[in-house]
C-alpha cells in the first residue's frame, strides 16, 4: 500500500517536473521570439551574406563616414519577377536587366536625360565626319574579379554582343565591320555604313562590357556576373533573391548602401504587404491592378510614378485573309476606346497612345492618331469592306493585365459588330502559338522595343517575317522596310528626326499594330529613401544614387 502511494507520488512529481520543463521550454521559445520581434535594428548590423569569391575588398565601411546612420547601410528591396536565367546575352528577360544593368555590368556609355550619351566605361569618344569610324577612350578601372579594365575587354565584349541571338543586342552591332584595340585604352569601331541606331545602343544592352574571357570562364546563366559597376552580384538563390555588395574599388563615386538585399516576392499583393509590414524598404516595381491600392498608402511611403515604359498594343496577323483589307484593320482601330482600357488594365498609370514610339521621350513623339475612337466610322468601314459579320480569334496571355484588356477589347469590338473569340493561354504557350507558329488572328502584348524591331526578317509579327511564317513575303511590308533602312543611314540629326516621324506615321497608318497605351509602372519606397532614379534606357533599377534622407 505504502509502495503504491509512493509510486503515485513519484508519478505526480515526474508529471509536475515535466510540466515545469514544458512551461520553461515554451517560455524560452517565447523569449527568443519576443527578442526577435523587438530586433528592429537589423539594418545596422554588418552584412550577413558571404562575400563574393573575388579578390577585391567589398564590404568594408568607408573610414570617412562621420557617424553611422541608425538606419544602417543595408537596403532590402523586392521585385515580383525572377529571370529564367542570368545570361543576358541569350535571354530577353527584363528581370535580368532590372538589377544588373548599370549596377553590376556597365555599358560603354550612359544614356542621359536629354537624349545624349554621357561617359561611363568610355571616358570620351570621337566619331568621324562620315559616321563610319567610332573611337573610344576607355577609362582606368577594375572589374569585380580584380582584373583591370582595358581596351581588350571592350573589344571582347562588343564581339560577344555581336553574336547574341537577341535582336536589340546584336542588331545595332551588325553594321560594325571591325572592332579593334588601338592600344590599352583606345578602341575603334569601323562601320560598313552610317547608323543612327548604333550610338544610343552602345549606352544600352549592346554596349555592356565584361572582362575578357569571363563569359566562358564563369557560369553566367547561374549568376556569376562580373562587371565594372558599383555593385558586386552575389549569393543568388532561386525563388529567394540575391545580394548586391558595394564594390569598394569602383572607379566612380561609391554608392551609399553597402548591401542591397534583393528579394523575389512574386505575388504583388504580398510584396506590398511586405513593404507595409517593414520586411522590405522598397518595392522595385508594381504593375497591373495592385497599383490601385497605392493611392491609399500613408505618408510613411512614397509612390514613385516612373516614366512610361513599354507600350501595350494589339497586333494583327498578316496571314489572316480577314485582316488583309486595310479598312478592316482601320475599323478595329476605330472601335477601340483607349481610356477605359488604360483605367482597367493599369489603374490609369500611363497614357493612351495611337503611335508606337518607344521611348515616349523620343523627339519624334507627336499626337498623330490616324484612327481615333469612332465606333460609327468603324461600322461604316466594316460595311464597305463587306466584313459586317466579322468573326476573329483573340489569343491573349492569361496573366497580368491581359485578361482584363481582352474583356474590354472584346466588348468594344462586339459593339461594332465584330464577334470575338477570346482564348486565354499562359505565357509559354502564347509565345509558342503566336510567335512560334503564328496561330492567331489578333493578340495583345506590352513591349518595350522600338519600331525597328518590326523590320523584315526580324522576329516580330506582322510587319516582320515571323519564324512561323517561313519565307512568306506577304508578312513583310516592303515600303516600311525600305523607309526603315533609309532612316538608319541618315547622318543629319534633324533629317533623321523628321524621317523617324514619317516612319512612325507609316507604321501607324498600316494598322497592323494598334497601340493602346504607354504603361507607367510605379516604385514604392519608404519616404525617407531618396535618390530613386527615373528609367533611362530600360526598366532598370539604378541603385547608385539611393540613400536615406538626412
Amino acid at each position: 500500500m505504502f509502495k503504491r502511494r509512493k509510486r503515485v507520488e513519484l508519478v505526480k512529481i515526474r508529471r509536475r517536473t515535466r510540466s515545469i520543463a514544458v512551461v520553461m521550454a515554451v517560455s524560452l521559445v517565447f523569449a527568443a521570439c519576443s527578442g526577435a520581434t523587438t530586433d528592429d535594428t537589423s539594418d545596422t548590423e554588418a552584412p550577413t551574406t558571404a562575400a563574393p569569391s573575388t579578390d577585391a575588398p567589398t564590404t568594408a565601411a568607408p573610414s570617412t563616414e562621420p557617424a553611422p546612420d541608425p538606419r544602417g547601410t543595408t537596403l532590402t528591396v523586392a521585385h515580383f519577377q525572377e529571370p529564367p536565367t542570368w545570361d543576358y546575352l541569350t535571354s530577353n528577360s527584363g528581370a535580368i536587366r532590372v538589377p544588373i544593368f548599370m549596377n553590376v555590368i556597365e555599358p560603354l556609355m550612359e544614356f542621359q536625360r536629354d537624349g545624349s550619351n554621357g561617359p561611363l566605361v568610355a571616358e570620351s569618344w570621337e566619331i568621324s565626319d562620315d559616321g563610319l569610324v567610332y573611337t573610344f577612350a576607355i577609362r582606368e578601372g577594375v572589374f569585380h574579379d580584380g582584373s583591370t579594365l582595358e581596351a581588350a575587354d571592350v573589344v571582347y565584349s562588343l564581339k560577344a554582343n555581336q553574336l547574341s541571338p537577341i535582336g536589340p543586342i546584336s542588331g545595332p552591332l551588325s553594321v560594325v565591320d571591325s572592332i579593334e584595340a588601338l592600344d590599352e585604352r583606345t578602341v575603334q569601331l569601323t562601320l560598313s555604313g552610317p547608323s543612327q541606331l548604333l550610338f544610343p545602343s552602345l549606352a544600352n544592352r549592346a554596349g555592356m562590357i565584361v572582362p575578357e574571357g569571363s563569359l566562358e570562364a564563369n557560369d553566367i546563366a547561374g549568376g556569376e556576373l562580373i562587371g565594372s559597376g558599383p555593385f558586386v552580384f552575389t549569393d543568388f538563390k532561386t525563388d529567394v533573391g540575391a545580394t548586391f555588395l558595394r564594390f569598394e574599388d569602383y572607379w566612380g563615386e561609391l554608392p551609399y548602401f553597402e548591401v542591397i538585399e534583393y528579394r523575389y516576392i512574386t505575388e504583388q499583393t504580398s510584396e506590398l504587404n511586405a513593404l507595409l509590414a517593414g520586411d522590405i524598404d522598397m518595392a522595385v516595381s508594381f504593375a497591373g491592378d495592385t497599383q490601385a491600392r497605392l493611392p491609399g498608402l500613408d505618408d510613411d511611403f512614397t509612390v514613385h510614378g516612373m516614366d512610361p515604359k513599354g507600350i501595350n498594343y494589339m497586333f494583327l496577323s498578316a496571314r489572316s485573309d480577314k485582316l488583309a483589307d486595310l479598312r478592316v484593320r482601320q475599323a478595329i482601330s476605330h472601335a477601340l476606346d483607349r481610356d477605359p482600357i488604360l483605367t482597367a488594365a493599369v489603374s490609369g498609370y500611363g497614357f493612351p497612345t495611337c503611335q508606337y514610339i518607344e521611348p515616349y521621350a523620343a523627339p519624334f513623339q507627336n499626337d498623330y492618331c490616324p484612327y481615333p475612337y469612332d465606333p460609327a466610322r468603324a461600322m461604316e468601314l466594316l460595311a464597305e469592306a463587306g466584313a459586317s459579320d466579322l468573326e476573329i480569334q483573340f489569343v491573349v496571355i492569361d496573366t497580368a493585365a491581359h485578361p482584363t484588356i481582352s474583356l474590354i477589347v472584346a466588348d468594344q469590338l462586339e459593339k461594332v459588330g465584330i464577334t470575338v473569340d477570346v482564348k486565354l493561354i499562359d505565357i509559354p504557350t502564347w509565345f509558342d502559338q503566336v510567335f512560334g507558329q503564328g496561330q492567331y488572328e489578333i493578340s495583345n502584348v506590352t513591349g518595350g522595343v522600338t519600331i525597328d524591331a518590326f523590320a523584315c526578317g526580324g522576329g516580330r509579327e506582322p510587319i516582320g517575317d515571323n519564324r512561323g511564317a517561313g519565307d512568306d513575303a506577304a508578312t513583310c511590308d516592303e515600303e516600311y522596310q525600305a523607309l526603315l533602312e533609309a532612316v538608319d543611314k541618315i547622318t543629319d540629326y534633324d533629317e533623321f528626326i523628321a524621317a523617324q516621324a514619317e516612319l512612325a506615321a507609316v507604321f501607324a497608318d498600316n494598322a497592323w499594330v494598334i497601340p493602346l497605351y504607354s504603361r507607367s509602372s510605379t516604385r514604392v519606397a519608404r519616404s525617407d529613401l531618396i535618390g530613386i532614379s527615373p528609367y533611362m534606357v530600360d526598366v532598370e533599377f539604378d541603385m547608385r544614387g539611393l540613400r536615406w534622407d538626412s
Binding site: 521559445v29 527568443a32 521570439c33 527578442g35 526577435a36 520581434t37 525572377e82 529571370p83 529564367p84 536565367t85 541569350t90 535571354s91 530577353n92 528577360s93 541571338p165 537577341i166 535582336g167 546584336s170 542588331g171 557560369d219 546563366a221 547561374g222 538563390k237 532561386t238 525563388d239 529567394v240 528579394r263 523575389y264 516576392i265 512574386t266 505575388e267 499583393t269 504580398s270 510584396e271 504587404n273 511586405a274 507595409l276 509590414a277 517593414g278 520586411d279 493561354i425 499562359d426 505565357i427 509559354p428 504557350t429 502564347w430 509565345f431 509558342d432 502559338q433 510567335f435 512560334g436 513591349g447 522595343v449 524591331a453 526578317g457 526580324g458 522576329g459 516580330r460 517575317d465 519564324r467
Partner: protein, 318 residues
Amino acid sequence: MQRLILKSGLTLLVSALFGSVLVFALLRLLGGDIAQLLLGDEAVPGAVEALQLELGLNDPAYLQYWNWLSGLATGDLGTSYGIGYDIFDQIRIRIVPTVFLAVGTMIISVPLALILGSYAAIHVRQRRSVFVDVGAQIGLAIPAFWAGLLLVLLFAVKLGWFPATGWVSPSEDLSGFFRAITLPITALVLGRTAVMTRYARSSMIDVMGEDYILCARSRGRTLRGAALRHGLRNASIPLVTVGILQFGSLMVGAVVIENVFAIPGMGRLLVTGVAGREVIVVQSLVFVFLLMILILNFLLDILYGILDPRILDKPVRT
C-alpha cells in the same frame, strides 16, 4: 504481414511507373518551350530552333523519358535549362520548408481536431457544440491563401508581430524560423483542423454509441471520463487515414501558401518551373509528389494491417 507488404509494395511500384509515364506525357501536351521563352520576342531568326536543338528539346520522346527515368533512379536529373541549377539538389533543398509547413500544420491540427471534435461529440445535443460546428464550417469555407492574407494584414502589417513574407532556416536562426513560419502554418491549420474536427466529431459520436462506452458508464464513469478513457483512442483510428491523406494534400497543396508568404518550397519551385517551362524540374517535382502520396498510402495499408489484424487474414488476390 509479409504478403501485405509485398502486395502493397508491388502496387506502389506499378503505380509509380504508370504515374511517371503519365506525368511525362502530360507535360509534353502543355505546349510552349523554354527556348522560345528564354529568347522572347526579340530573337534573331533561327535562334529559337538552334537553342531547342542545343537543349535537346527535339530529341525523341522515348529518349527524353528514358534519360529522365534513369536520372531519377541514379539521383542525377541534370541541370535546369535556364539558371542551370542541379535539379536533384534543388528538390532536396526545397523539400525542407514544405515538410516543415506540412508537419507543423499536422502537429497542431491533429490534437486540436481531436479535442474540438470530441468536445462537440460529447456535447452533441447542446448549444455549445454548435460553436465548434460553426467554427469548423467557417474554417472549411475560408481558402488558405485568403486566411493567410488576412493574418498578414492583422499580425504583420497592423501589429508587426510577424514578418509578412520570407523563410528563415531553423539552423540559421531558430527564433526567426518560428516567426517566419507562424502565420503560414496558422493559415493552413485553420482549414485542416476544420476538416479533421468534423471527422473526429462524427467518429466520436459513433464510438459513443458503442456497447463498451455504455458498459464503462454503467461501471460509474462519467460521460466525459468514458469518452476520454475508452472513446478517444477508438475514435482516433479513422483520423489516422484522414490525417495521412491530409498530410499528402498539404505537401502538394502548400503551393498557394508558399506563394503568398514567398517561401521557397517545392510548391514555389513547381510554379516557377511551370511558368518557365522547365519540364524536367516540373515532371520531377510532380513525380516526387506522386511518390509521396503513394508511399503514404503504402504506409496506410501497413498501418491498417497492424491496427486491424483481420485485414491480414484476407486472402491475397492474384
